[in-house]
Amino acid sequence: MQVGHAALAAVIASYAPEITGVTGGPVVEAFSWEAVIVVFLAHFLPNFDVVPIRLGLAKDSFHCTWSHTFLFAILVGALLLPINPSWSFLAFVSLILHYLADSPSSVGLPLLLPFSKKRFSCYLWADTGHSGWFSFKGTYMQSWTWFLEGGMFLVLLVRAYQEGVFPFA
């Protein structure tokens, strides 16, 4: 998933009260700045593995490896836990949903690293790389990406309507 990650992150932010409500900590309001910042940072964090690739410090195959594992999600959640338990759980859920959104891609995610190198994928669309024009164009020449990512933007609009925020205020 590429552009659809933004819609998914906003949808997660819309469910912030329900997600943070289970922690017993402070409840984060739907679509609040707090929810949006925590969710977007956590949700996009795994894709920052492109930075060392762009800097020439890692190979292209480094993308979708360590940052796309349960261990990484647990570590991020554990780091945020002493600061704010609600942020911790919100970030953990955002990371897990990032992995779920990436699971249809053919590259597969090694979710169980370092215990297993097995990559998990539903193979709904062929992965065409981590960044660049070819990656973007190649992704959006396939039907599943339009269906799922476009569908996610529609879900976002429905959530905006249900919560009564712009453009449904």
Partner: protein, 91 residues
């Protein structure tokens, strides 16, 4: 991108059907959608609608199968081959 000229029009049609579904299932009677909100919902509904239409078009399916044979992480140079091919087809 498409093998059939009908595909984009089918996408628009499927988008309208998705909009009708959203309108029927999610609208609150006390807070009906305005005309401009419906236009916005339709524009976004066309995105998954286009995906549905592309399922019926052989070209995107064939391209997916072709891409699945390549590993663009292990062999990034494979991308250049396709970019060149697309550039030539545009000329």
């Amino acid at each position: 991108m498409f093998a059939r000229k009908l595909t984009p029009y089918l996408g628009l049609l499927f988008g309208a059907l998705i909009l009708l579904g959203v309108w029927h299932f999610f609208e609150y009677p006390e807070r009906p959608f305005t005309f401009f909100q419906l236009i916005l919902l339709y524009m976004v509904s066309v995105l998954p609608g286009m995906g549905l239409a592309m399922f019926l078009d052989p070209a995107p399916q064939a391209l997916r199968k072709e891409f699945l044979k390549e590993n663009f992480y292990e062999h990034p140079e494979a991308a250049d081959k396709y970019l060149k091919k697309w550039e030539e087809s545009c000329k």
